[in-house]
């Protein structure tokens, strides 16, 4: 790029509005949360004396088995749900990359789950899972798969997986679209050459197609992981962290620490720990995006 006279001053002028908003709404609050995490601050109507207590909150947080297990659950949610989205998404992309009648319609159709608002998605699946009158129970019963109605979200062993199913339904289209776009850049010559060499479909997929689309996939995988790791809304609507805390994810845990127990100091330290894990994921995104685009 050619540099231009006066570019320096203009650069900051152009950046000013965005920078102002982000500084005030993101950077400054982050620093303040960081500061709070080293204090014994509490949310209260009365002005209170806040004192600096060093790493005490962090020591407490890291020895709090409830918090540690909420982190574990969040990782489980992230891993399983993104994994399922990727497998389903790539499979759907491969399917929609075939030639068949109504392909355009099918491609248009899968935007539907993505377009449904997250909260509506959560509410819909909650109704579907309803233990007394839910569609899932009714369907499985009529198909003879279950003998009696189940409490899908009430069973600590399966609740998380049911939430994950709802999340996968909503988010797999994104992966599918990215994979589909990537698939369309795979050179047909290469595939045909491999076909003439006698490589079967599996080999062609793993030796040619997958390596070709892995770059874009990696970007979307990490991006989805970052999003999944901060999951809150779907949990809030579907289970509120229950049953027996089995779906209480880290964001929800911090939310309760803040707004149910009003402990801003220790809540902040939890938030910072969650943030640190996110930063690792974000760094992963940075690497994947850089690999894919050269520059960022």
């Amino acid at each position: 790029m050619r540099s231009l006279i006066g570019a320096k001053q203009q650069k900051w002028l152009l950046l000013a509005p965005a920078l102002t908003v982000l500084a005030l709404i993101s950077f400054v609050p982050f620093v303040k949360t960081l500061w709070l995490s080293f204090s014994d601050s509490e949310i209260s109507a009365l002005p209170t004396v806040v004192s600096f207590i060093g790493l005490e909150n962090y020591i407490y947080a890291l020895t709090d088995p409830d918090f540690i297990s909420s982190l574990g659950r969040t990782l489980y949610f992230t891993f399983i749900s993104v994994g399922a989205e990727v497998i389903l998404g790539v499979a759907v992309a491969l399917l929609l990359n075939q030639q068949f009648k109504g392909r355009t319609l099918m491609r248009a159709l899968i935007i539907l789950p993505w377009a449904i608002p997250t909260i509506v998605n959560a509410v819909t699946w909650r109704l579907i899972y309803n233990p007394d009158y839910g569609a899932l129970n009714s369907l499985l019963m009529q198909l003879g798969i279950i003998g009696e109605y189940q409490s899908w979200l009430g069973d600590p062993d399966v609740a998380m997986n049911m939430v994950i199913l709802a999340d996968v339904w909503k988010n797999f289209p994104l992966v599918a679209y990215v994979a589909l776009a990537a698939l369309q850049t795979v050179p047909m010559d290469m595939l045909n050459a491999a076909r003439l060499e006698g490589a079967n479909a599996w080999r062609r997929f793993f030796k040619i197609t997958l390596p070709w689309i892995i770059g874009p996939l990696l970007v979307i995988i990490v991006l989805r992981s970052v999003e999944a790791f901060r999951v809150f809304d779907i949990i809030y609507v579907m289970t509120r962290g229950g049953p027996a805390n089995q779906t209480k994810t880290a964001s929800f845990y911090v939310y309760q620490e803040y707004f149910s127990y009003l402990r801003s100091g220790s809540g902040s330290s939890y938030a910072i720990i969650v943030a640190l894990i996110s930063i690792i994921l974000i760094y992963g995104y940075y690497r994947a995006a850089k690999r894919q685009n050269g520059s960022l």
């Binding site: 050619r2 540099s3 231009l4 006279i5 006066g6």
Partner: protein
Amino acid sequence: MSESNNSFTSNQVSDDTVRVASANQSINPNNSADRDDAILSIRSLCKSYYDASILQDINLDINSGDFLVLVGPSGCGKSTLLSCIGGLTDVTSGEIFCKGKNITQLDPAKRDIAMVFQSYALFPNMTVSQNIGFGLEVRKVPAAEREQKIQQVAEILHLQPLLDRTPAQLSGGQRQRVAMGRALVRDPTLFLFDEPLSNLDAKLRLTMRTEIKHLHQRLGGTMVYVTHDQVEAMTLASKIVVLNQGVIQQFGTPEDVYKRPANTFVAEFMGSPAMNLIQAKVLMEGGDVKIQIQREDGPAIIFTEAAATDALRAFANCTVIVGLRPESISDLPARDPQRSHSVKCRIDYLEGIGSDVYATLKLAGTDVVSRLHGDSTVRAGDTQQLHFDLSNISYFDPSSQLRI
């Protein structure tokens, strides 16, 4: 263009020849004092990207009404120099003056310069007339006046029927004319053209070349025109700057550059086929300077240089490089019998282009191209009487590659 009537003596040649611009002083090929002050002066301009030096110590003066053509091989820095003049790139060091005012740090918008880009850079979202009128609109010229000027320019460039189209609906040549229209409408101090014809097909390029030439003659204006096509340079220019690897090789009139190339680079770059560069030896016989060219298939060619300069004499008994254009080696006698030398030569191979036949022979170990008449019946392997026209011969120093 090749067989010029005026036979310059070698004395005049050396006086007028402009040397490679190595020193800091500016060079003006027409050092006549009655000229206006330069419209554009460039002083010791350097430009580098990081540690890559793109332009080195450029010095130029452009006078009002000049048609200055910047020519050079691809990547030599022509576009970069144009960008510096236009203010699209900041310079690393040096200064640019426009009408005596230092504009080195001035915003491109305030330079009163118009530019025609290689890609035309038309605004795709605007009609032809909006494109042409853009600069006027920016300057808040009243709508009526703007309209009138657009019409004038459209008439000159035959764009009237296209005014309401968008660039996407135009052919390459039409887009090119719109780009010119956008430049012409404002009557700026200086026009910059960056290879405006390079995206056109050969025939259209020829037509547009003539049209640009006529426009310049009709409307005046000062132009800086970039091309890497040396024919375009020769036909359009009133002055030529030959650039190579960011260094000015020669700055002069087309005739200077063609007949008296400042160094072997210019000699080879300008003209097609290129000037023949042949190793030769300078011999002194009595007071006469003789030039001796060896060849494998016959006795050495020896001719007398009747107009030898002192500089050439200084190369006595040393090797020089002789520069002869293909048209100076011909089957027809030279115009000036005094400056002609005839030899029988064996022709290695032939290449006919209709009007002429290019015959290749070997002199001093290199292939030498000569231009024969189109009706020549000579065949490869034949021996042919060739006439060397010495009136436009050049000599170069083999170590510095500079003109002697």
